[in-house]
């Protein structure tokens, strides 16, 4: 942790905490190169409050899938905090070791709290969501094709 103290923020009007959670999660999971394509250099003006820093988080599992937590192993993450000239603060905690990824994620988190939000959503978040949804659906569809159809089994979709 840097020496500065970071206060707990409450979401200003215009978006809900759930909405912010959604875009922060989307940015964290996004591929660094896709994000770089959607938000190329030069980046909008900003100032680091906490320059991108690589570290780990201990991932917890649950005993017997739903019981008490246990330490499963670590994951690499990068975090960053910055602010825009208007003073809006953006945070990021993203998977992997890509500092530029964390910087862009924090920057977008900040921009999403400004009047830029709808433009950012349209240009960056919507394509990211679509790419992720497509990727997930493609894998789910392939998994579904390996579902065993026992001949005694009757399912609704069977004709």
């Amino acid at each position: 942790m840097s020496a500065m103290s970071l206060q707990t923020e409450t979401s200003p009007p215009g978006f809900t905490t759930d909405e912010r959670r959604t875009w922060m999660g989307l940015l964290a999971r996004s591929r660094p190169d896709s994000l770089a394509n959607l938000l190329p250099e030069p980046l909008p003006e900003h100032q680091d409050l906490r320059a991108p820093e690589v570290g780990t988080m201990m991932v917890q599992g649950r005993t017997d899938a739903s019981g008490a937590p246990f330490s499963l192993g670590e994951i690499t993450v990068t975090r960053a905090t910055l602010h825009l000239p208007c003073g809006t603060t953006g945070h990021a905690l993203v998977q992997g070791r890509d500092r530029a990824h964390a910087r862009r994620a924090a920057l977008i988190d900040a921009l999403m709290q400004t009047p830029e939000a709808s433009r950012i959503r349209e240009r960056i978040l919507t394509p990211l969501t679509k790419a992720e949804t497509d990727r997930r659906q493609a894998r789910a569809a392939k998994a579904a094709a390996t579902r065993v159809e026992f001949f005694t089994l009757v399912r609704g979709e069977d004709k």
Partner: protein
């Protein structure tokens, strides 16, 4: 007497230079990229992440390249690198019930909500070498797709047994689990600590131990209630914000076994659980882990003592880490000139004493 040994620096430098050359192999053949290792040797990458106890496919691929494919050496590199990174905190426990499954099978129930999903498995292959793979420029045919209905929320099989109380409740414990990377392993270990040690333990060691329980050395009579593989999201609290966000997505293999249990004075007969959870796609390891986890639980389940390696917590937990094992094993090849000199002196003196002044052996 300690004799400082110097020298060998040039030999070591030259050995390392040669290692680098040998690592590269024939330069007429294209070098492997990290991305190629990550994408095409994925199960090696997964093993290095699981036993290196650090989820980062690119790092694991780099380690495999640097280690010339020696996975234990690669795991060693990952463990060493991990120590250089600051720990930001812990995630919330991952919810495998919400896993986007690519594989999900049960050996206890045939018909299940969500169905039996085979996924990209080696099972049912004939284990015949496919010489077509040796040909270059082979096009891959895209795998078939089907309607993924019901795959977005696949319930755990154990839930069915749990509803009827036919199986013990999931393991309880502290909300803040122990972490053996922060505090050295102490015995007796609680189940959370055992699961962490097993999750990063050597696959081969756990496989052999699990196999030994099947052959009668600490019988567990395990059925695979469910084996599932897929992506889960990792969530963590951001202290600055005061709420949790998703920080990434990881692939996990999970195995839950159903085991026999005769009941006790206080408990009616009930099935018992063994649990395995591993980074990446590694069902052999997840299965092994769940069998060994169950074997180690004999005391808390009030089972009678029967000596078997897989039930011996100290034996299992002290020897399952392949980096500890290889470190201690391999150190004996380093110079022990002085140790050996003293042994040599001793044997000479003992032999001299055993021989009488007349020259006859007693």
């Amino acid at each position: 007497m300690y004799v400082a040994v110097k020298g060998g620096e040039r030999a070591i430098d030259n050995a390392h230079a040669w290692l680098a050359e040998e690592r590269r192999g024939d330069t007429a053949i294209a070098a492997l990229s990290i991305a190629q290792i990550r994408e095409q040797l994925k199960l090696s990458v997964d093993r290095v992440m699981a036993e290196g106890s650090l989820y980062d496919p690119d790092l694991a691929a780099l380690a495999i390249k640097q280690a010339r494919g020696d996975l234990i050496e690669a795991i060693f590199l990952i463990r060493a690198y991990r120590t250089t990174l600051p720990r930001f905190g812990s995630s919330l426990p991952v919810e495998t019930a919400r896993m986007a499954v690519i594989r999900r099978i049960s050996a206890t129930y045939r018909d299940l909500p969500g169905g039996q999903v085979l996924g990209p498995t080696f099972d049912y292959t004939h284990r015949l070498l496919d010489f077509a793979l040796a040909a270059e420029g082979l096009d891959v045919v895209e795998a078939p797709s089907a309607n993924p209905e019901g795959l977005d929320n696949v319930p755990h099989v154990m839930g069915f047994l749990n509803r009827e109380s036919l199986i013990e409740a999931p393991g309880a414990g502290d909300e803040v689990p122990p972490d053996l990377t922060r505090n050295p392993l102490q015995l007796p270990a609680n189940r959370a600590l055992r699961l962490q040690a097993l999750a990063r333990g050597d696959e081969g060691f756990l496989l052999s131990l699990a196999y030994s329980t099947q052959r009668g050395y600490g019988n567990t009579h395990a059925f695979v209630g469910e084996l599932r593989i897929g992506q889960v999201t990792v969530e963590a609290e951001l202290p600055e914000l005061g709420f949790a966000i998703e920080i990434g997505e990881i692939e996990l293999s999970e195995c839950e076994t159903v085991n026999q249990f005769g009941g006790s004075k206080s408990e009616p007969p009930q099935f018992t659980r063994g649990y395995g959870l591993v980074f990446g796609q590694s069902e052999r390891k997840a299965l092994s882990m769940s069998l060994v986890d169950r074997a180690l639980r004999w005391k808390e389940l009030g089972e009678s003592h029967s000596p078997a390696p897989a039930r011996d917590e100290e034996f299992v937990l002290s020897h399952c880490d392949n980096i500890q094992a290889t470190g201690f094993l391999e150190h004996i090849k380093l110079p022990h000139y002085v140790d050996f000199q003293s042994e040599l002196e001793l044997v000479r003196r003992l032999r001299a004493a055993a021989i009488t002044p007349s020259g006859k052996e007693e």
